[in-house]
Point group: C3
Chain length 456, copies 3
C-alpha cells in the first residue's frame, strides 16, 4: 500500500478526487433508494385498485417510469439548466445539458453529470408516480402517458428551475426557500393532478344520482400500506438528493446555504412521526396513517435545514390531521381522487410552504441582493407553483377530453380494465365475492354527480 | 475545480471535514435501511394476523414508530447519555442531550448529534417493534403504546447505557462485550415481551379447556416471509449503526476497540446462513427459517468483530435450531407468543451472549483497569439485561391488567379487532372460508387455559 | 477535534486510511442492496407458483442462499482467485483465499477481503436464485440444492475468474469486456438452467398429449411484479459491486480501465427504461414488463462504462422485445421454464454480449499485449460462457435424473408440494376456486409431452 509521498498540491488533488468519488457514491445510493419509492408506489397503487383493475394499475405505474427516463434525458435535464430565470431559456448555460453534449454520457473527466441527471430523473419519475394513483381505474393508458411525460419531464422541472435552483428566480427575487422540494415536486404534482381529475371525472359508481358518494376501496389495503412504508424508505434517497455534497467543505442546501445531514435526519423523522399521529387522530386507519407519514415529511420539507425538531413534529401532525378533511372536501365537490394524491402532495406541499413562511421568515439567503426568507415570498411561491401545476394539468387534460381520448369507454370501465388492457390474470386461483363487481354501498349511478354530498 | 494550495494544517482540516461528512452519510444510510426493518415488520406482522385483525396489527405497528420518535427525542437520548454508570444520572454529561440543548436540532457546527440520535431512535423503534408482533390480536392499543414507549424510549436505552456504551458499567466493571446489541436490543425486548405475555394471556381459542393447544396461524405466510427478508436487509443498517466511524483512523466497535466492516460482513452472512439451516432442520417451514436467519445474526452479534466465520455459522445454526423448541416450551406453559418473538429475540440474544462467553473469553477490552471479556461477565451481563427487560415488562403489564386496560373485551376479540379499531376493510373483494372465524383444530374454548398443555 | 498537525507523509496515510474506510462502506451497501434482490426474488418466485406450491417455492429460494454462503466461503472464493488462467489452479495466488487463511476472518489489518468476499457471495446467491424460479413446482429440494451449490459456488465463479477478473484469460487473450457481469452471472446461470430444464421436464399439465401447451400461471402476479421491482433496486447494489473503488484515484471497471459511477447511472437507467418498453411492445403485461426491465439492464451490462445512453435504451428495448419470443420458442420445444429465466438471463446476457461486440469493438484494454475489444472476442466469450453454464447443468441434472432423484413423484406434484414439503399453509383463511387443482385449459395430460407444440 506504500507510495512515494506526494507534494502538498498533489495531496490536495488526491483529497479532492476522493471527495469527488464520495459525492458520486452518495448520489448513487440516493438513486437506488428512489427506486424503492417506485417499488413502494407499485405496491400501493396495485393494492388501491379493485381486483378488476389491479394489473392495469401496475402497467400504468411501470410505463410512467419507462417514459420519464428517456424524455428526461432528451429534454428534462436541459429545462432544469436553461430556465432558472423564467421562460426565456439560457441557451448558453444549458448547452452542456443537450443530449449530444459530451457531458451526457460516459466521460472519465466528469464524475458529476451522470449521477445528478439520474437523481433528477428519479425525482421526475416520482413526480409522475404521484399523479398515477389518483387516476386509476378509468384513465386511458395513452392519455396518462402523455400527461406523465408533460408533468415529469416538463412542468415539475421547470418549477424546479424556478424554485429549487441556486439561480431560480423565485429565490433570487422573492427569497423562496424550499430545501426538500415540497413545491416543485409535491405541490406541482398535486395541483397538476387536481387539474386532470376535474376533467377525467369520477369512476362509475363513485357518486350516486343525488350527489351522495360511495366508497370505492382497493382490493388489498395491506399491500398499499406496506408499499407506503417502502415509499418512506425511499424518501431518504429523495431527501439525500436534496442536499449538496461540496468538495472541500460542509453540506449546503440547493441554494448554497450551509446545512447538515443531521438536521435533515432530525426533522425527517420528527415530521414523519408527527404526520402518522395526525392522520391517526382524524382517521384511525392505516392507509391514511401511512399517507400522513408522507404528509409529515412533505410538510416540513421546506425547512428541513432549520426547523427545531419538535416544531417539525407539530407541523407534520397538524397538516396530516387536516389532509383527510381536504380529501372529504374534494369528494363533496364530486372530485374522485382514488388515493388522496391531491390531499397528500398538493395540499401537504402547499400548506408546508405557507407554514414555513411563518416559522423561517427572516432566515438569510446567500448571495448579494437576494431577499431573506419572508412570508409573502413563501406564500407567493407556493401559489406560483400551484398554478404552474394546475394550469397545464387542467388544459391538457381538457384537450384530451375534447378529443375523446382521456377516458376509457364506460363498458370497459365496468367490466374492468384488466380484461382489455392486460392479457393476464392477477390472482387466477382465488375465489371472489360479488364485491369485485359492485363495490358501492348504494345503487350504482352511472353518471357522475357533482355537488353537495355527504362525505364518504 | 482548481483552488489555491492549502497549508498542511489547512489540508488536515479539509480531510477531517471530508471524513465528518462521510461519517454522516454512513449513518444516514444506516437510518434509511433501518426504516426497511419497519417495512419488513409491518409486512410480517400483518401477515401473521388472522384476517379479522390484519389492519389493527398494522395500525399498532405504525403507532409504535410514531410514538417512539418524539419520546426518544424528549428523554430516550438523554437516558443513553446519562446513565452509563447505573441508575444515578450523570446530569452534566447528559446536558447536551436535553431536548432544549443546541445540539438537539439543526446546527452547522454539529454534524454528529442529529445523525446519531436518529440512528438510535431507529434502534428504539426496532426494539418496540420486536414486542409488537407477539401481542397481536388481543392487546388493547393504548396499553400497547404505553408499553412500547417504556420499552423503546426507556428500558432498552438504559440497558444500552449500561452495556453498549464505552463507559457502560457492565463493560467497565465486568468486561461485557456485545458489539451487535444482542443484549440491549434483543434480549431486553424479548424478556420484556415475555413479562407482558404472562399478563396479557393467550388469544381466545389458542388453548382448549384441557390445556391442549390449537394452532392459530396468520392469514398470509408469504407476506410474513417476504417481510422477514426485508428485515434482514434492514439488519445491514442496524449493524452498520453498531460500528463507529472514526475521524482519522480505523473503525472501532462501540467500546472503542478496533474492528472492520469486513469482519461484520463475514460474520453477518455466515450467522444468517447458519440460522436459516438450523431452523430448517427443526421445522422445515419458511416462517421459522426466516426467523432462524434473524436468530443467526442475533446470536453471533456479540462477537461479530472477532468470530472466525465458520464458527459464526455453527453458532447461528445451533441457536436457530433450538429456538422453535423454546417456542414449544412456552406453548406448554400456556404462553401465547403469536410470532415467536421471545424465542427469536429473547432466547436468541441471551444464548448468543452466553455462548460468546465461551468463545471470546480473554479478548482484551480497551482502557486501564477494564477486565478482559470473560464468561462470567458475559453470562452475568445477559442475566442483568434479561431482568432489566423482564421486570418492568411484567410489572407494568400487571398494573395495566389490574386496571382492566391491558386487553380488549372478549367479544371484540372474537369478532375481530378490525371491526372495532379500524374503519376500513383489509380485503373487501375476497371470499373467505369459515377459517376466518374458527381457526382452531379442536372445539373452540372461549376461556384461556393456562398451564401444562401439549405442544401445538 | 483539534490535533497536532501531521507531516505530509502522515497526512497521506490518513487520506489513504479514509479512502480505505470509504471503500469498505461502499461495498457494505452493495451487499445490503443485493439482499434486496433476494427479498425481491422471494416475492417473485412465491407469486409465480400456484397456491399448492407457494411455500415450497419460498423454502427452496431461502435454502439456496443458506447453502451458497458457506460453500462460497469454503471453496467459491478460492476458485475466483485461483483459476483466472483456465483450469490449472494458481495455488500460490489463491492461498490467501483458503478458508484457514488469516484474511478469511476478522483482521484489523485487512479492510478488504471480508467485504469483497461478501459481495461476491451475494453475486453467487443471486446466480443460484436465477435458476431457482425456473424449476419450481416439480424439482426435488435436495437435487435443487446440489445444482444451486454447483452453479453458485462453482460454475459461475469459474466463469468470473475467466471473464470478469483483471487476469482472466478471456480478457487477456481475446480482449473480452463485460463490466456488468452479463456473462459470468446471467449467461452462465441462464444456460445452466436450460441444461437442467431439459432433464427435469415440464410440469404435469403444461403440455397436452398432442404437444400443445397450456398456460400455468402463478397465484399472485402482483406479488411477482412488486418483487421484480425490488430486484431492480438490488441491481444498484449488484452493479455497484461491478465497479472498483481505487485508493488514490478514479474508479475502474473490473479490468482496471477508468470509468465512473456516473456512466453506470446513465446506462443502467436508460437500459432499464428501454427494456420495460421493449417487453411492453411484445407482451403488454406487467410480469414481462418488469422482466424486460431486468433484461434491459442485463443486455447493456457489458458496456455500461462506454455506451452512449440512448444506445443503451435502444439495446435494452430490442433485447427485451425479443425475449418473450425466446420463451415461446422454448415452449414450442417442450421446455417449461416457469418464469422465463432462460429468456431473461441466458438470452438477455448472451445477446447483450454479442451486441456489445458491434458497438464497443476497438475500445482499448489496459495492459501490454492485451487485445482491444473486438467482435469475435465478445461473441466467442459469450459462447464459452454459455457452454460453461450449459454443459455442467445438463450433465449433472442428467445424472440426478438417472439416479431418480431429480424430480418429485407425480402424485406429490399433482397434490401440491406444500402438502409434502412444508408443515404449514400459505393462506389458511381464503376460499379458492377449482383453479388451484386444474390450471390447464385442456384435459390434463399426466405425461410430459415434448416436441412441436403451439406456443402458449
Amino acid at each position: 500500500m506504500e507510495q512515494a509521498t506526494p507534494t502538498l498540491e498533489e495531496l490536495h488533488q488526491l483529497l479532492r478526487m476522493s471527495e469527488t468519488i464520495n459525492m458520486e457514491i452518495f448520489y448513487w445510493w440516493c438513486i437506488a433508494l428512489m427506486v424503492v419509492i417506485h417499488a413502494g408506489f407499485l405496491s400501493y397503487e396495485i393494492g388501491a385498485s379493485r381486483l378488476k383493475n389491479a394489473l392495469t394499475a401496475g402497467v400504468k405505474n411501470i410505463l410512467a417510469f419507462a417514459f420519464i427516463v428517456p424524455t428526461f434525458f432528451f429534454f428534462g435535464w436541459w429545462i432544469y439548466n436553461g430556465f432558472a430565470t423564467g421562460i426565456v431559456p439560457n441557451l448558453e448555460g444549458a448547452a452542456a445539458s443537450l443530449p449530444w453534449s459530451g457531458s451526457m454520457g460516459p466521460n472519465i473527466k466528469d464524475n458529476a453529470t451522470g449521477i445528478f441527471w439520474a437523481a433528477f430523473a428519479l425525482f421526475a419519475a416520482t413526480t409522475a408516480s404521484i399523479m398515477s394513483g389518483a387516476l386509476i381505474e378509468r384513465t386511458r393508458m395513452s392519455a396518462f402517458i402523455i400527461l406523465a411525460i408533460i408533468l415529469g419531464s416538463g412542468v415539475w422541472i421547470l418549477g424546479a428551475a424556478w424554485s429549487w435552483h441556486p439561480a431560480g428566480w423565485l429565490t433570487t427575487e422573492w427569497g423562496f426557500h424550499d430545501v426538500g422540494a415540497a413545491g416543485c415536486v409535491h405541490t406541482i404534482a398535486g395541483f397538476f393532478t387536481l387539474g386532470v381529475l376535474i376533467n377525467v371525472g369520477a369512476r362509475i359508481g363513485r357518486f350516486n344520482a343525488d350527489g351522495s358518494a360511495n366508497e370505492i376501496v382497493g382490493h388489498s389495503m395491506p399491500m398499499s400500506v406496506i408499499g407506503l412504508m417502502l415509499v418512506i424508505v425511499g424518501f431518504f434517497g429523495f431527501l439525500g438528493g436534496c442536499i449538496i455534497y461540496n468538495i472541500g467543505g460542509q453540506w449546503t442546501n440547493i441554494y448554497g446555504q450551509p446545512t447538515t445531514l443531521s438536521a435533515f435526519a432530525f426533522n425527517t423523522l420528527m415530521g414523519f412521526a408527527g404526520g402518522l399521529i395526525g392522520a391517526y387522530l382524524t382517521t384511525r386507519e392505516p392507509f391514511w396513517m401511512m399517507s400522513g407519514g408522507l404528509i409529515g415529511i412533505i410538510s416540513v420539507a421546506p425547512g428541513l435545514d432549520v426547523y427545531y425538531p419538535p416544531l417539525a413534529y407539530v407541523i407534520g401532525m397538524g397538516v396530516a390531521a387536516a389532509a383527510p378533511l381536504v380529501q372529504k372536501f374534494l369528494v363533496k365537490r364530486g372530485i374522485d381522487d382514488a388515493v388522496g394524491a391531491f390531499a397528500v402532495h398538493g395540499f401537504g406541499g402547499f400548506a408546508g410552504i405557507v407554514i414555513s413562511g411563518i416559522f423561517i421568515a427572516g432566515y438569510p439567503n446567500m448571495g448579494e441582493g437576494v431577499p431573506p426568507v419572508n412570508f409573502l415570498g413563501q406564500a407567493g411561491g407556493a401559489v406560483v407553483l400551484a398554478l404552474l401545476g394546475f394550469i397545464p394539468g387542467y388544459l391538457i387534460s381538457l384537450l384530451l377530453k375534447k378529443l375523446g381520448v382521456l377516458r376509457v369507454p364506460a363498458h370497459a370501465e365496468v367490466r374492468g380494465l384488466d380484461l382489455v388492457e392486460v392479457p393476464a390474470k392477477a390472482y387466477p386461483e382465488w375465489a371472489l365475492t360479488g364485491a369485485s363487481i359492485t363495490v358501492t354501498s348504494a345503487p350504482v349511478a352511472s353518471e357522475v354527480a357533482v355537488g353537495a354530498a355527504k362525505p364518504a
